[in-house]
Symmetry: C2
Subunit: 233 residues, 2 copies
Amino acid sequence: MRAPNPAGSRHLPLADTSSREGLVGAIESCGEGCGCNSKSVSAEVAAAERELANALMPPAMGGGDEDKLLQVGDVAKVSGKTVRAIHHYEELGLLQPHARSKGRYRLYDTGAVARVRWINKMHDLGLSLPQIQEIVRAWESASSAPSAMAKIRSTYQRKLEETRAQIAHMQSLERELQASIRYLDTCDACDPAEIVQACSSCHVHESEEKQPDLVAGIHGGAQRTLIKAAAAG
Amino acid sequence: MRAPNPAGSRHLPLADTSSREGLVGAIESCGEGCGCNSKSVSAEVAAAERELANALMPPAMGGGDEDKLLQVGDVAKVSGKTVRAIHHYEELGLLQPHARSKGRYRLYDTGAVARVRWINKMHDLGLSLPQIQEIVRAWESASSAPSAMAKIRSTYQRKLEETRAQIAHMQSLERELQASIRYLDTCDACDPAEIVQACSSCHVHESEEKQPDLVAGIHGGAQRTLIKAAAAG
DNA sequence: TCTTACCCTTACGTGTACGTGAGGGTTGAG
DNA sequence: CTCAACCCTCACGTACACGTAAGGGTAAGA
C-alpha cells in the first residue's frame, strides 16, 4: 500500500476552501443525504471509506479490532479534512492518536473518524474549535457520566434553538432572494443603452410593491427617491 | 444634539461578536420578523431608527432631501454595525459618504443605510467583503444597466440555490440534534456514580437504532464496538 | 536494497473582519 | 466660550482555522 496510487486518487483537490463561511457557508461532507451540495468531494470520501473498510477488514476475518489502525492521511481522506487539520485538532486537544508506530507515525482507531465527524458537525453548528475544546475538556474531566451527558444534552438543546432561529433567518433570506429575482426580472424591459446611474430614476418597476433590501442596496442613493415620495404623499 | 446622552443610549453593547460564524452564526438585525434571534440589539436599532427618522424629518416639513445627512455614528447605530465597520467598508470601496463637512466629517444619505443593510445580507449569504467588492465594482463599471442587473440577478440565482442547500443541511443538523437529545434522554437511567470511560461499554441505549454522529463523536472509541458487532453479525 | 509515497516536527504565513488605541480636531447646546 | 460627545487619520493587534514550506525520517512493494 505504499506503491504509487494504491487504489484511489492521491492529491484530491478537496474543493476550494477559499470561500468564506457567512451563514451560507462551505459544506463538505454532510454524510447523510441531506440534499445539500458537495457532490465531488463526498464521492471521493465514499470511495475512500469503502477502500479503507476493505483494508481494515479483509474478507474472511472474524473481528479483531485493536490492530486495524489508520494513518493520519487515511483519517483525513475518510473525514474529508486535510492532514494539517487533523494535526491542528490534536494541537487543540480535540483528538488523540490511539498509538504511535515505531517511527512515530500517528495511528488512529476508527473512533477517531467519528470524532472528526463530530468536530465537523459541532463546527457547522457554530462552535469554534476552542469552544469545542471546552466541551471536550469538560467531558474528560467529568466525574459522573450521566451528569456530563446532561451537560452535553443542554448544549445540544441550546444549539437546537439557535439552529432553528438560523434556519428561519436563512429562509427569510431565501424569500428575499426570490423576491429580488422576481423584481429584477422586469429589468428586461429596460433599454440596453441605459446607464446604471439612471436606475435611481427608473419607473419600470412601479407596479411592484417595494424594493427588497437586496435590490435597494445596489444603487447608492436610490432609497432617497422612495423617502421623498413617502414624505410627499 | 451634542449634549450628554441626547435621547438614547450611548455605548450600546452590540452583543458579543466573540462567537464564531460556522453555519449557525451570529445574526444581528434581520430587519423583518423572520423568527430569528437578536432581540436586544434589534430593539436598540429600532429605537435608533425612529429617533433618526424624526431628526431627519421634523414634523411639518415638505420633502427636501439633500440636506438631511447622517454622521457615521448614526449610520452605525441604525444599521447595527460599529463605526469601525463602516470605515472598513469604505476602505474596501463598498460605501462612500455622500459628502464631507467642513471639519471632514463623513456625511451619508439614507441610501448608505440601505447599502449597509445590503452588505450585511450579502455577507449573511456567504459572500466575503472582497467578493461583495467585486460585485460593486462590476456594477459601477458596467456600461449597460440591464446587463449589469442581469449579472446581479444570476448571482442571486446562484445564491438562492446555495441557500436552499444550506437550509437543507441545517435541517439535517436540526434532525440530528433532536435525535441526539432523544438518545441522551435515556442517560437518566445511568448510575450517577458511573464514570465517563464506562460509556463505551454502556448498554442502556440498546433499544435505540444507532448512535447519531453527535453522540458517537463524544466518546473516543465507542464506535469500535459497533464496528465489531457489525463484523460479527 | 531501492524507491516512492507517506509521515514527522517546527514555525512562520494567510485571509477575514474588524478591534483598539494614539494623538488630535470638530460640533453645537448651554 | 466652554465642554461633552462626536469625529478624523494612521497603524498595529486579534481570533480563527488552517496553509505552506523546510529539513529530515519511515513503511513496504518490487
